[in-house]
């Protein structure tokens, strides 16, 4: 069931567009914000609410890499793997994170704390390499700083 709060936020998005379906991305964001990911069940309910078929909504949801159709950890780590960060040592950052968390890209730690994903260009190329954890951006990072960064997230 969509919660009252979710419906309120989705209705707000619908009010800005000429028909319900046009708010589908905003609506997916609302659901993901409240539930951390979009399950098949949420997707069906949402599609119903937006007068779309679940298949059509799923075709939208799966197109965008930041709509999660699988459960993710409490904190999502995005590692910038674009060219400037690659030049500045992204591969070592990724290797170290993998080793420390025992996960590869697309995986979640056993305790459900972190999910690690590659992300194209975070738009902070003069401060490469960069990662994001949740909503927080970390720039000019070195391997030595990773432990300190991770420790901020429970």
């Amino acid at each position: 069931m969509l919660s009252k709060q979710e419906i309120k936020e989705i209705d707000e998005a619908i009010s800005l567009v000429p028909y319900k379906k046009a708010a589908s991305i905003e609506a997916l964001k609302v659901v993901q914000h409240h539930r951390h990911w979009v399950s098949d069940e949420s997707l069906k309910e949402l599609a119903n609410y937006l007068d779309m078929s679940a298949e059509e909504l799923d075709s939208v949801a799966t197109f965008y890499n930041l709509i999660f159709r699988q459960p993710v950890g409490r904190h999502v780590i995005l590692v910038c793997d674009s060219v400037s960060c690659w030049v500045m040592g992204e591969e070592r950052i990724k290797e170290k994170l993998s080793e420390r968390l025992q996960i590869d890209y697309g995986q979640t730690t056993q305790d459900g704390r972190f999910t690690m994903l590659p992300n194209p260009c975070l738009g902070t190329c003069d401060c490469a390499p960069a990662i994001m954890v949740g909503n927080d951006l970390y720039r000019n990072i070195s391997i030595d700083q990773l432990e300190g960064i991770l420790s901020k997230y429970e």
Binding site: L16, V17, P18, K21, A22, A23, S24, I25, E26, L28, K29, S59, V60, F63, Y64, N65, L66, I67, L78, D81, S82, V83, S84, W86, V87, M88, N119, P120, C121, L122, G123, T124, C125, D126, C127, A128, M132, N135, L137
Partner: protein, 431 residues
């Protein structure tokens, strides 16, 4: 040297408040605009020769002029703030630090085409920008710069922020429109052009953030002033950036047409100690490499084009002599293969194939004929063979790398490995 877009930025990197922006002349251009006709605004901007700063370099005034003025409401104005071109970080500065400058520019552009609705299409990763823009839109509303009857002029404009959920394709203007309509971000056939039939089938203009931020200054100081800011034919200033292994990577607003050498050697402080310059992408991932012989190329639309590349976004990614050009290009093609929307076949099938070829060359499994195969692909995925500019853009760094760094590709194949790698052990037929 004038820096109209960035001269008032705060030293602490925090955004200019509405009050601070007004104190340095903010929203005066809007007041002036509301006393002019839309045609007059379009005329000034056309005369200023402002060209789009998002990469394509099309005349902004001319783009606006295709919007039918008598079309029924609504018309839309959209700020393309989906800065996702790898190597590009110039709009972030404007979004985070002068949100009111963007909003004022958007209102002016919207007035010029008589739009009644506007959106900022912002990429997901720009969290600080999102917060500041929401705040600034609210403040502009309170101050009477947005909403009904703006400053008593009778002109109405609403503005909303849309944050994306990833995908490079959203930067392509028709794909951006599909995404705003809640669809997959695939490009649309043109014609009809968005100026006639854009968002929800209504006339729509999509302008880049930096382009929009130029507008208040053009209105305040005039087309002639804007032209004189530049060193060359292309008007204005440009926010240039440099990333890679230089001493002081960063972004700077400079007169349009400074040389690549000045950018790298003066502003970016030159290469890091012990490294040499080998080449650079002048304007993001989808531009052809320039090399040492091009260091004195003027970084404007015509200058970079004459050197066989594109100004693109004007943010330079530097390749040094200790970084493998094959690995560099593989990283780029991996990005493009991943970001292909899958709508047209050459792009969807061709880019992953190219990535695989580059991966095998990089790992030492390349065959001599692979270079020819890659070259063939740069034609097959070139302009005219795909639905949008993504694949042709992806071919630009590849075709120029095959030209300027060909020996590196050949060496990888002959010696079955990457000589830039720490674990490198050459294996030639002679061994």
């Amino acid at each position: 040297m004038e820096k109209p877009l960035t001269e008032h930025l705060r030293k602490d990197g925090k955004p200019l408040s509405l009050k601070e922006y007004e104190q340095v002349g903010g929203y005066q251009a809007l007041r002036k605009t509301l006393k002019m006709t839309p045609q007059e605004i379009q005329g000034v901007v056309k005369d200023s020769n402002l060209k789009g700063r998002g990469g394509a370099g099309f005349s902004t005034g001319l783009k606006w002029s295709f919007v039918p003025m008598n079309a029924p409401k609504p018309k839309y104005l959209i700020a393309n703030a989906d800065e996702m071109e790898p190597g590009t970080f110039k709009d972030r500065i404007l979004l985070e630090q002068t949100p009111h400058q963007l909003i004022e520019g958007m209102i002016i552009a919207a007035f010029a085409i008589q739009a009644s609705e506007s959106f900022v299409f912002l990429r997901w990763a720009y969290k600080t920008a999102a917060k500041e823009i929401i705040k600034a839109i609210h403040e502009a509303h309170e101050a009477g710069y947005l909403g009904k009857n703006i400053l008593g002029s009778g002109y109405d404009l609403e503005m909303h922020l849309h944050t994306g959920v990833g995908r490079y394709m959203c930067g392509e203007e028709t794909a951006l429109l599909n995404s705003l309509e809640g669809k997959r971000a695939t490009p649309r056939a043109k014609p009809p052009f968005p100026q006639v039939s854009g968002l929800f089938g209504k006339p729509t203009i999509v302008n880049n953030v930096e382009t929009l931020c130029c507008l208040p200054h053009i209105i305040n100081k005039g087309a002639e002033w804007f032209k004189k800011l530049s060193l060359t034919q292309d008007s204005g200033t440009k926010i240039y950036g440099v990333s890679g292994k230089v001493k002081k990577p960063g972004a700077w607003e400079l007169p349009m047409g400074v040389t690549l050498r000045e950018l790298i050697e003066e502003h970016a402080g030159g290469m890091k100690d012990g490294l040499k310059f080998r080449g650079a992408l002048p304007g993001g991932a989808s531009t052809d490499f320039l090399v040492e012989e091009h260091l004195d190329v003027k970084m404007d639309f015509a200058g970079v084009a004459a050197a066989g590349s594109r100004l693109g976004t004007g943010t330079v990614v530097v390749l040094d002599d200790k970084t493998c050009p094959v690995g560099f290009v593989k990283n780029l093609e991996h990005f493009f293969a991943q970001e292909s929307c899958g709508f047209c076949t050459p792009c969807r099938e061709g880019l992953p194939w190219i990535e695989k070829l580059l991966d095998s060359i990089d790992k030492g499994d390349g065959r001599t004929e692979d270079i020819k195969l890659l070259e063939a692909h740069t034609k097959l995925l070139g302009p005219g063979n795909t639905f949008c500019a993504l694949a042709p853009g992806a071919m630009e760094p590849l075709q120029s790398a095959l030209k300027y760094f060909r020996k590196d590709f050949e060496q990888h194949i002959q010696e079955k490995g990457c000589s830039y790698s720490k674990n490198y052990r050459p294996q030639t037929a002679a061994h």
